[in-house]
């Protein structure tokens, strides 16, 4: 099968800070299929391997329906495998379910939470191979998903697109800890499609060396009385590059939509770079939207205060960097996962020359 889908160039506005074609080189993404494993899957959760024949109706109804961009279209066209999970109506799962992405190439996953279901999803990925993953999430009325993704530092290209649709009173809470890659891109396309739906996004990036990490979000308030919040913090050392593009669209007639987004970066290297671009597109009348972005160095008053209290400079800088990330880190609801994110952050900070 030949796919005539070309990779986006930097001339495409959404890919201005992430040169995918260049990072991939002549070989591109290739035609391989990567893998994804789910575990442990509690009783009652339906799992379907996407390379199997005879897709059940719930897969047919939702698979490939939310893909939002050309990269996701490529993974849909090329991925031969992947996984689909269904959390049945009213099923509440306490312990996190893990999705592990591995191998080279394209891969897809589908997660359907039926009405009133609740799940904590922990997403991990092996960093060794070039991968293009597409994850679709459907959250039915009154269902709740807590989602934590840790992307370890990687020397290759890792792209993931997450498309989420939220029905009436559905709740989504996502945290994305990203430590950079040759090119790392997480794209979140979220549609608040029912009144009372909420999406809360947070994330941290700690980059050193030549690492690149791009978090691009597009939250659409399709109807009114919906809430979205975003809090992204980046610490960039060495020649690292952190990107945040956050677009919030409030559709015509979506009165009572409430949206807040904050992105902040701390630059710790002379050649470190942060590109923060919050963006609002409002077609409704009665909405509350706030956004802010700030890039800076450590505060010299704070640094002096800590040193004057006996804390040596290096330790004081570490304390302030941790403090900078703290509100985004405490946003992780699940205590075990929060400790995992904290551990990964500490390890990454050791690599940042401070």
């Amino acid at each position: 099968m030949t796919v005539a889908l070309a990779l986006p160039t930097r001339r495409v506005e959404e890919w201005k800070y992430s040169d995918l074609a260049r990072a991939l080189g002549d070989v591109g993404f290739g035609d391989d299929s990567a893998e994804v494993l789910a575990g442990p899957v509690p009783a009652g959760v339906e799992v379907f391997a996407l390379d199997e024949p005879n897709r059940p109706d719930w897969v047919k109804a939702h698979y490939g329906k939310l893909s939002a961009n050309v990269v996701s279209a490529i993974s849909l066209a090329k991925a031969r495998g992947g996984i689909a999970l269904r959390i049945p109506k009213g099923k509440i799962i306490e312990d996190p379910v893990t999705l592990d992405f591995a191998g080279k190439g394209h891969v897809r996953a589908l997660l359907v939470l039926e009405e009133g279901a609740a799940l904590t999803l922990f997403e991990r990925c092996d960093a060794a191979e070039t991968r293009n993953a597409g994850l679709e999430i459907v959250v039915a009325p009154n269902a709740r998903l807590d989602h934590v993704r840790i992307s370890p530092v990687s020397g290759v290209v890792q792209v993931e697109e997450v498309s989420i649709t939220l029905a009436r009173d559905a709740f989504y809470h996502g945290h994305f800890a990203n430590f950079g890659a040759r090119l790392s891109r997480i794209e979140l396309a979220i549609t608040l499609d029912g009144e009372g739906a909420e999406a809360h996004l947070s994330g941290v990036s700690v980059l050193s060396g030549d690492a690149h990490a791009d978090v691009t979000t597009h939250v659409t308030h399709a109807v009114g009385r919906t809430l979205s919040t975003q809090l992204f913090k980046k610490v960039v050392g060495g020649n690292g590059q952190a990107v945040y593009q956050g677009k919030v669209t409030v559709a015509h007639g979506a009165d009572g939509a409430d949206s807040r987004q904050t992105a902040k970066a701390l630059l710790l290297g002379m050649r470190a770079e942060a590109d923060l671009k919050p963006e609002l597109e409002i077609f409704a009348d009665d909405v509350k939207c706030a956004h802010g972005a700030a890039v800076g160095d450590l505060d010299s008053d704070s640094l002096f205060y800590l040193r004057a209290r006996g804390i040596p400079e290096k330790e004081a800088r570490h304390l302030l960097i941790h403090a900078f990330l703290e509100d985004a880190l405490t946003d992780v609801t699940n205590a075990d996962l929060r400790e995992q994110v904290r551990g990964a952050v500490s390890t990454a900070l050791d690599q940042v020359a401070t």
Partner: protein, 249 residues
């Protein structure tokens, strides 16, 4: 304990201290009074080791050691403490966590063993209670959302916890109502000790009603222009800085 000789300090190319002389011995409380812009805060910052304060001439010796050669954290470990006029707010670091890090950093700096978390917690609680600092304040982020009085009380709590040899209080009275002032002064007075020296920097005589100094120095245009006992504060209050500075000239 502290011996400052002919100290000249430049900030951003401008000379602020112009030949300051000051000697404070252990067990004594000295007050530095002076009008705005006389160099009071510059003196406190240069003693604590803030960057950007350049000593162009003169010396400051602390227990026989050249203070200027030490980074701020080593000065703190050796017992120099500056209660700041504007304590900084640090979101993301709880007050308790900060106190613990600072105390143990100072102990490490002196080659002492660290104190365990429970020991520190007990000590802090006891000292905090005396200063009317609630458990809730200790759990909150450092100085974030604290009132002016709460911030100053926290500075005094730190002084009480770190037990410095030389305590410098920079405008600790500013922004305090009379009750808070009394509480802070009581905290300071309880720390007066034969082995400890204090330098109380203030614009107003008011604080010196509560913290009675052994000696008062008047700072104007970057040098000490008048000195005397505690009665000098009353004279200043009556005559104003302008007259005292004129008399001294």
């Amino acid at each position: 304990m502290l011996d400052i000789k002919n100290l000249h300090v430049t900030v951003a190319g401008k000379e602020i201290l112009r030949g300051l002389n000051l000697r404070v011995d252990a067990g004594q409380v000295h007050a530095i009074m002076g009008p705005n812009g006389s160099g009071k805060s510059t003196l406190s910052y240069v003693l604590a080791g803030r960057a950007g304060y350049e000593i162009t001439e003169g010396s400051m010796t602390y227990n026989g050691e050249n203070l200027a050669a030490l980074p701020p954290e080593q000065r703190a470990a050796k017992g120099v403490f500056l209660a700041m006029q504007y304590p900084v707010e640090i979101p993301g670091v709880t007050t308790m966590m900060f106190l613990k890090s600072a105390l143990n950093a100072q102990r490490r700096g002196r080659g002492e063993s660290e104190m365990d978390a429970i020991g520190i917690l007990k000590t802090v609680r006891k000292k905090a209670a005396a200063l009317n600092i609630s458990e809730d304040m200790l759990k909150r982020a450092l100085n974030v959302g604290f009132s002016g009085g709460e911030k100053k009380r926290l500075e005094i709590l730190q002084m009480s916890l770190f037990e410095p040899k030389l305590a410098i209080l920079d405008e600790t009275d500013s922004g305090l109502d009379i009750d808070a002032l009394r509480l802070v002064a009581e905290g300071v007075n309880s720390l007066r000790a034969p082995e400890r020296a204090m330098l109380v920097i203030t614009h107003y005589q008011r604080l010196l009603d509560y913290i009675v100094p052994d000696r008062i120095h008047v700072l104007a245009n970057g040098r000490i222009v008048a000195e005397g006992g505690k009665e000098l504060a009353l004279e200043l209050e009556a005559k104003g800085y302008e007259q005292i500075v004129k008399d001294a000239a």
